[in-house]
């Protein structure tokens, strides 16, 4: 083989290898998706989405209304707590982390933040159980949201920092040279430019927390009823899936499949909805 043909062959080989890896990586993903759709889709109905679950063992498994409501409440509360803290931490790390007095502190925060990203969620659950549930004396949606925030904040902080660092310094300088204060430059010039990255970070965090099960077991417990108040246990989709799939009744196992599909659909529609809504007038 001539060396020219050999070099061309290497180029082809590289392409084929990377293509092959993508296909292999996508196989489990697709098989999960297809499995969930095939098993879950027949379950979907108005009744399934709105009613409470039936008594275990009864022929009527009922619906997953409380679990859907609980998951939506948790996502909302977690965003309310997690996004402000995460975004502000990211702003601090990206915009002030180079300050000569704060550099060491920011470096330490970055290490903690990265460590927090890797903490197993069951540990977060135990911690919040000890800190919040035992203090309040009852399981509570609030405790669940706090636990999920512990998981969401480091993700949001990190993606915020990364996307703010991508904003060219020339924009900051343009603003500062106009005599604009630092905070105003961040809010009105840097954040809008990094909007896409911020939204991606928030959505990543939502996708991650929406499926978390372990911390919820120890904070909201799960249950049969719709949301009552902040001092009562609450249901959520991951808990419903977890409990149902262990039951030896086929109608409840089917309910778990349906709940899994609903969970995927919620995350997906949030993803699409937020992206469309955050597309700015002058967005790229």
């Amino acid at each position: 083989m001539t060396s020219y043909a050999y070099r061309k062959f290497k180029d082809r080989l590289f392409f084929v290898l990377s293509l092959g890896c993508v296909i292999i990586a996508v196989v489990p993903l697709l098989s999960i998706l297809i499995e969930v759709i095939l098993n879950g889709a027949p379950e979907l109905s108005i009744k399934f989405l709105t009613q409470t679950a039936g008594v275990i063992g009864s022929p009527d498994a009922g619906g997953i209304g409380p679990a859907i409501q609980g998951t939506l409440i948790l996502i909302g509360l977690t965003c309310l707590i997690g996004i402000p803290f995460g975004v502000m931490s990211g702003i601090f790390l990206a915009e002030h982390g180079n300050n000569r007095y704060l550099r060491a502190y920011a470096g330490l925060m970055r290490i903690f933040n990265n460590a927090l990203t890797g903490v197993p969620s069951i540990v977060v659950g135990i911690t919040v159980f000890a800190l919040v549930v035992l203090t309040l004396g009852h399981y509570s949606p609030l405790a669940g949201a706090i636990a999920l925030s512990f998981i969401a904040i480091p993700i949001v902080a990190r993606t915020t920092e990364e996307s703010l660092k991508l904003v060219p310094n020339s924009l900051r300088e343009a603003s500062l040279a106009l005599g604009v204060r630092n905070w105003r430059t961040t809010v009105s010039v840097v954040l809008p430019d990094a909007r896409k990255g911020l939204v991606t970070g928030a959505l990543l965090a939502v996708a991650r927390i929406a499926g978390e099960t372990a911390p919820l077991l120890m904070t909201i417990l799960g249950g049969q009823y719709f949301f009552q108040d902040f001092s009562q246990p609450m249901d959520a989709l991951p808990l419903r899936i977890y409990r149902d799939s262990f039951l030896n009744y086929s109608n409840f196992q089917a309910q778990a499949w349906g709940a899994a599909l609903v969970l995927i659909l919620i995350v997906l529609s949030l993803n699409i909805g937020v992206r469309v809504a955050s597309r700015g007038r002058l967005g790229k």
Partner: protein
Amino acid sequence: MALEWPVGVDLESEKTKMNGNTSYVKTWDPQNPVPAGEKMRSIKLNAWFGAKQALKNIDLSIRANAVTAIIGPSGCGKSTFVRCLNRMHELVPGSSSSGQVLLDGRDIYSKEVDPVLIRRRVGMVFQKPNPFPTMSIYDNVAAGLRLTGLKRGKNLDEVVKRSLEQANLWDEVKDDLKKPGTSISGGQQQRLCIARAIALQPEVILMDEPCSALDPAATAKIEELIVTLKQDYTVVIVTHNMQQAARVSDFTAFLYIGELVEYGSTKHIFENPRSELTEKYITGRFG
């Protein structure tokens, strides 16, 4: 206006400079009032990036309503010098400076001065056009007033129109004010940045190689604009291009490795430089 030596530079000290004396411009005497016509002055200005000294004892007087060009080879401290004039230099991590910069006779580096307020009086245009990409053309021009909270009691539409007119851009964009600031050509973007700077009605406009990213036609338009701007503003322009300095400026300062080698009226610098180094540089024998 007949062009003479920059105010504050007397010919006597010019002569001593030629004999090897480095105290080029007469040192500022706080007892003396601001010389008529002087807008800014640097006194023993030093600047560092970390341990590397970028400016060494620069004494320079900048005259009001005139264009002062800063020339010199790459890395000589031209940009650092103008960035010291509106305290942008200190924003670079690890940078430091010493000495004084007077604006209307008052030191902008004294403790009680807020650098943010100085930047509203001393505007800046950068090397690469940098309009805000998330804002429309209109919003870009209005940004200075909006983000500084100075828009109260002002008619924004009027300010935007006047600034764009002063920047010779109004006729080209008046029907597209809602379009993104980055949707126009590079030369237009640079004039948009000039409009954005003058919307705040600063007293001084610093331009850091404003044409280096532009083609000759766009450059000609900006140069034309610079000459008209001096009626209302004091302009300091950093340039690599000696023909440009000769065309637009009234005074020229030649910097070399952080030191001020020669400063005088542009006519003198280009026709009759006193320093051999200046002559070599402007005739293109190095740099």
